[in-house]
């Protein structure tokens, strides 16, 4: 699964720490999601989309291999 978390976060002028604080997760978690090393749970994906005021489909995309 690929995501646009980094692009959207940067466009909103938000740091990894600020996003992490809003989601109550560590900065490591945000970094791992942005670099594609970790696929977040449905709950966390929905929370991220809610903070970005976007739909889940606008933030997360399925790849062909998924």
């Amino acid at each position: 699964m690929i995501n646009h978390v980094k692009e959207i976060r940067v466009s909103l002028g938000m740091t990894q720490q600020e996003l992490g604080d809003l989601l109550k997760v560590s900065r490591q978690t945000i970094f791992s999601i942005e670099t594609g090393k970790y696929v977040p749970s449905t709950i966390l994906s929905l929370k991220i989309s809610k903070i970005f005021t976007k739909s889940v489909e606008e933030v997360f995309f399925l790849e062909e291999k998924d």
């Binding site: 490591q28 978690t29 970790y38």
Partner: protein
């Protein structure tokens, strides 16, 4: 995120203090490095206390929460457990192959218990190393 069976974060520091101290004292007494005259009961008491502080130190280090315990940390925990389990299995397999090929047997009950004890300790040491390495590695990449 709720995690079952995890101790508060402060236990991690206690664990990192307990397990090396326990291990050093245990090995030192076993190897007779302290030249003090200890009677048998005292020696057994110190050996038991040092071994259990080593063991509890390991458990405290393994089963205490990170400052922010979230789902990513849980996934790192799971991966570390899986790799440690595989390592333990490989250790068992290689040990038994070596024992079979070279006709070596752990001598007596003591030898056998040391073999099983080392395999258990190997599991926890591997877990602590992999878990911390993954977290430190991720942290260092963020700081870059």
């Amino acid at each position: 995120m709720k995690s079952l069976f995890l101790l508060p974060n402060r236990f991690k520091k206690i664990g990192y203090l307990l397990f090396p101290i326990g291990l050093i004292i245990w090995i030192s007494i076993q190897q007779g490095l302290f030249k003090t005259e200890l009677n048998h009961t005292m020696k057994v008491l110190i050996l038991t206390l040092s071994f259990f502080s080593f063991l509890f130190g390991l458990y405290f280090t393994t089963f205490s929460k990170e400052p922010i315990e979230d789902e990513y940390i849980n996934s790192v925990r799971l991966k570390s457990f899986q790799i440690s389990s595989i390592t333990q299995m490989v250790f068992f397999l290689i040990s038994f192959i070596i024992m079979f090929l070279f006709n070596i047997e752990p001598s007596g009950d003591g030898g056998l218990s040391i073999f099983f004890l080392s395999s258990i300790i190997l599991f926890w040491i591997m877990y602590i190393m992999i878990f911390n390495y993954t977290l430190i590695n991720t942290k260092s990449k963020i700081d870059d």
